[in-house]
Amino acid sequence: MNILIVEDEARIAKRIERMTRDFFADTLNSLHHVEALSEALEFIKNNSLDVVLLDLNLNGESGFDILGTAVSESFHTVIISANYERAISAFEYGVLDFVPKPFSKGRLEQAFNRVLSKEKTETHKVKLLAVKKKGRIQLIPIEDVLFIKGAGAYTELFLTNGKKELHDKSLEKLQQLLPDTFERIHKSYLVKISEIKEIIVKSGSKYIAELKNGVLIPIGRTKYKDIKAKWL
C-alpha cells in the first residue's frame, strides 16, 4: 500500500501517520507526508499511489484546486477536513470518503476499510468523473456515461455523444464510487441499467444486453439472474 498524506497541521499529520501505520502494518509499502499543494501535485506525478489523504484547507490554499487532478488518477482519494460544507461537492467529484475533523482512530480506520474491502461509498453522490485529456482535467457528468469497459489497469468510458474517454481508475475502483444505477453485468463491463433496451438469450447460455443505442454488451453467466431481476 502506497499512501500520501497532504496536511499542513504538523500535529494532525503525525496523528494520521501514526494511525495509518498502525492500521496497515506490514502491508504498508510507503507513507509520505507533504504540507503544500504544489508538493502534493509533484509527488502524485512522480509516484505510484493507492490512497491519498487530502486536507481541503492548506495554509489558505484550497485542496479543491488539486481535487480534480487527484480523482482523475488511479488511486482513491479520502478527504480529511474541517470543511464539512464541502463534503457534498467532494463526493460529487468522486472521493471515496470524507472524514470530518476531529476524527477518532475508528473513523479513520472505517475509511481505510472502505479502501480495502472495495465496498461502495455510502453516499453515492458522485456526479462527475474527471479524466485527463491532453494534460488537462476534463469533468464528465455521469449522466453522460452509458457504460464503462475495463481495459487492464484503465477503463474506457462510453458516452451518450458517442465518444469514448479513458479513465485511470480500474473498473473495481469506479464501481466503488458509482451509484447503483450502474451495474457490473460482466467482469469487464459496468452498464447503466436504464440504458438496457433488451436482454437477448443466445444458444449455449450466452446472454447479451442490447442498449438503446444498439450496442451489444455480454452479460456474465453468473450475473444474468441478478441483472434480469433488476432490469425488470
Partner: protein, 559 residues
C-alpha cells in the same frame, strides 16, 4: 415625486400670472406732453398743447405739467367704476378732463412740507367723466428730490376695483410663496444648529431666507406707501439680496458638486459678479437681471460638470436650470427672476434631500457593517478550520500526554475568554490585543509544533486599536510562513508615534511561502481595513509587503 408636483404648480402659477396680465384693454394711452410752468387752465380738456414737448428738464425742481390723451374704448357697464393707476416720480395733482380727481402729495410745496404721496397710486375717475371716447389726463407735478431723474409716466386705466385688487391678489400669492421659503429657511437653520458641520444646510437656509426677503421687499410696494424720494432704498435692498443669492447658490452647488480648483474659480466668479453689480449699478432692474443670468451660467457650469461626473441629483438640477432658462425665454423680467430663483432653490432643496438620503443609507450601512465586523470577530474562533483543527490536535495531545492536553485546553479557554471581552468593542487597549496574540501563538504551538517568538518594541500599553487586527495579521503570518531553519518563527510589533501619526509595524521573521504568488486581498485584510475605516474613517493607511527575512505590515493612523 413631490418635486415634480411643485414644478407643475409653479408652471401653472406662472401661466395664471401671465394670463392675468392679458386682460382686454379698455383704453389707449397716447404719448404724454410736458411743459414747465404752472397754470390751472392747462388741465382743461381742450387746451392746445401742440407746442408742448416730449420731455422737460426740471433742474431746479420747479413745477411742470403733463398732458396725456387717454381714449376709453369701452364704456363702463352699469355700476362699474373706472380708475386710473399712475406710476411716476414726484408729487402731483391729478386732473381728468379738467376736473381735479386726486392729489398725491403737494406739488410745488415739497421744499417746505414733509414728503407725502406714494410712487404707485390709483385714483377713481368720476362716472360722469368715464365715457367712451377721448379724455385728457393732466398732472401738475414737482420733482423736488430727484429733479434730473427722468422717469417715464406709467398710466393704466381699468376697472377701479380690478386696479386696486389685482396687485394685492398677486402679492398675496407671492407672499404665500415667500412664506414657504421662510419656513424652509427656519427649518433648515434649526437642522444646521443640530448638525454643526452641515454648511450646505446653512447656506440653503440663508438662501431661502434671502429669497423670502427678496419677495417681501419686491411686493411691499403694493401695500406700504413709498415716497418717490425713498424708492432707491428699496431697489438697493433688492440689488443687495440678489447679489447675495447669486453668491450663495453657486457656492452651495460647488459644495454639493465639487470640482477642481474650486477656490480660484469661485473667487473669479465673485469678481465677475461684483463687476456686473457695480458696472451699471443704478439700472437696478437690469443689474438684478444680469446678476441672475451670471449666476445661472455659473451654476449651470458646475452642475453640468456634476452631471458629467455622474454625481447623484445633478441631472434633475440640470433639468431645473434648463426650465429656468425656458421660463426666462417666455416670460417678462419679474416672473423669470422669481420663478427662476424659486426653481433654483427647489433644485437645491432636491440635492439636500438626495444627500440626506445618502447620509441615512451610509449610516444604516455603517450599522450593518459594525454588526458584520462583530460577527466576523466572533466567528474567528468558531470557524470550522480553526476550531476543528484545534480540537483534532487537542485529542491527539490528550491521547499522548494528558498534562499537555490540559495546558492546551487552558490556552484555548484563555483565547475564548479574551474574544468574549473584546467582542462588542470597536477599540481596545493594545495590551489586550497583544495578550490575545500571545495566547493565539500558544495554541498554534500545540498545533503546528513550531516555536513561535513574540517581540515588542516601544509599545504604549494604553494606546487603543480596533480589536483583533494584529491578531489577524498574526494569523496571516502563521498561515503564509515556513519556519526558519531552527523551526521557529518570530513576530515583532513596533510602535512609533509622531506629531501627526501613530504607526504599528508588524514583522513576521520567517521564510515566506510562495513569494511569487500574487497577493489577493483575503478576508483577513478586508477585516482589518473595515475595522480601521470604522474607527478612523479615511485617516489611516495600511501596507503589506515582503522583506528579505519575512513579511512587513504597517498600519499608520493619522491624528
Amino acid at each position: 415625486m413631490n418635486f415634480k408636483l411643485l414644478y407643475y404648480f409653479l408652471l401653472v402659477f406662472t401661466i395664471l400670472l401671465v394670463s392675468s396680465c392679458s386682460r382686454d384693454r379698455i383704453s389707449k394711452i397716447k404719448d404724454s406732453r410736458y411743459k414747465i410752468g404752472d397754470h390751472l387752465e392747462w388741465a382743461a380738456k381742450n387746451w392746445n398743447d401742440q407746442q408742448w414737448e416730449n420731455k422737460v428738464d426740471v433742474v431746479e425742481g420747479e413745477v411742470f405739467w403733463s398732458r396725456t390723451e387717454v381714449e376709453i374704448t369701452k364704456a363702463p357697464e352699469s355700476f362699474q367704476h373706472y380708475g386710473i393707476f399712475i406710476n411716476t416720480f414726484g408729487e402731483y395733482d391729478v386732473f381728468w378732463d379738467g376736473v381735479l380727481i386726486g392729489k398725491n402729495g403737494n406739488p410745488g410745496q415739497e421744499a417746505t412740507r414733509e414728503p407725502s404721496g406714494e410712487l404707485w397710486a390709483t385714483f377713481n375717475i368720476p362716472d360722469t367723466l368715464a365715457t367712451k371716447g377721448s379724455h385728457i389726463l393732466a398732472l401738475k407735478t414737482s420733482l423736488y428730490y430727484f429733479p434730473n431723474h427722468w422717469r417715464k409716466l406709467h398710466i393704466h386705466v381699468d376697472d377701479y376695483d380690478h386696479l386696486v385688487r389685482s396687485e394685492l391678489i398677486n402679492t398675496a400669492f407671492m407672499h404665500i410663496f415667500a412664506g414657504a421659503f421662510l419656513i424652509a429657511s427656519l427649518y433648515f437653520f434649526f437642522l444646521f444648529l443640530n448638525e454643526k458641520k452641515g454648511y450646505p444646510i446653512l447656506i440653503f437656509s440663508i438662501n431661502c431666507f434671502l429669497f423670502f426677503a427678496l419677495i417681501m421687499v419686491e411686493y411691499v410696494k403694493f401695500y406700504v406707501p413709498i415716497h418717490y424720494s425713498q424708492h432707491h432704498i428699496r431697489l438697493e435692498i433688492i440689488g443687495g439680496l440678489t447679489f447675495c443669492i447669486a453668491i450663495l447658490a453657486p457656492l452651495y452647488f460647488s459644495l454639493q458638486f465639487p470640482f477642481p480648483n474650486r477656490k480660484t474659480i469661485l473667487i473669479t466668479y465673485i469678481g465677475v459678479l461684483l463687476f456686473v453689480f457695480l458696472i451699471d449699478h443704478y439700472s437696478y432692474d437690469l443689474t438684478a437681471y444680469n446678476i441672475g443670468m451670471t449666476m445661472w451660467f455659473f451654476s449651470f457650469g458646475i452642475i453640468l460638470y456634476g452631471a458629467y461626473k455622474k454625481m447623484k441629483g445633478a441631472i434633475i438640477v440640470l433639468l431645473a436650470l434648463i426650465l429656468c432658462a425656458l421660463i426666462n425665454a417666455i416670460t417678462y423680467y419679474d416672473i423669470s427672476l422669481f420663478a427662476g430663483f424659486g426653481i433654483i432653490l427647489l433644485g437645491m432643496f432636491y440635492i439636500l434631500s438626495v444627500r440626506t438620503k445618502e447620509q441615512r443609507l451610509a449610516y444604516e450601512e455603517s450599522l450593518v457593517q459594525s454588526t458584520r465586523l462583530r460577527l466576523e470577530l466572533l466567528k474567528k474562533n468558531i470557524q470550522p478550520h480553526f476550531l476543528m483543527n484545534t480540537l483534532t490536535s487537542l485529542i491527539d495531545w490528550v491521547e499522548e500526554s494528558p498534562q499537555k492536553g490540559v495546558a492546551f485546553i487552558e490556552a484555548l479557554a484563555q483565547e475564548f475568554k479574551l474574544f468574549n471581552q473584546i467582542e462588542n468593542q470597536t477599540l481596545i487597549p493594545v495590551s489586550q490585543e497583544i495578550e490575545l496574540c500571545r495566547t493565539h501563538l500558544n495554541i498554534m504551538e500545540y498545533r503546528k509544533e513550531i516555536k513561535y517568538h513574540w517581540e515588542e518594541e516601544n509599545i504604549d500599553p494604553d494606546q487603543k486599536i480596533p480589536p483583533a487586527i494584529l491578531h489577524t495579521l498574526l494569523e496571516n503570518g502563521i498561515t503564509h510562513s515556513l519556519p526558519n531553519d531552527d523551526n521557529s518563527i518570530t513576530f515583532k510589533l513596533i510602535f512609533e508615534t509622531g506629531y501627526t501619526y501613530k504607526t504599528y509595524t508588524f514583522l513576521t521573521i520567517a521564510k515566506v511561502r510562495n513569494t511569487e504568488k500574487k497577493i489577493i486581498e483575503g478576508t483577513g485584510i478586508k477585516y482589518i481595513k473595515a475595522r480601521l475605516t470604522e474607527s478612523y474613517a479615511s485617516k489611516w493607511s495600511f501596507s503589506s509587503e515582503a522583506i528579505p527575512n519575512g513579511w512587513k505590515n504597517s498600519i499608520k493612523i493619522d491624528n
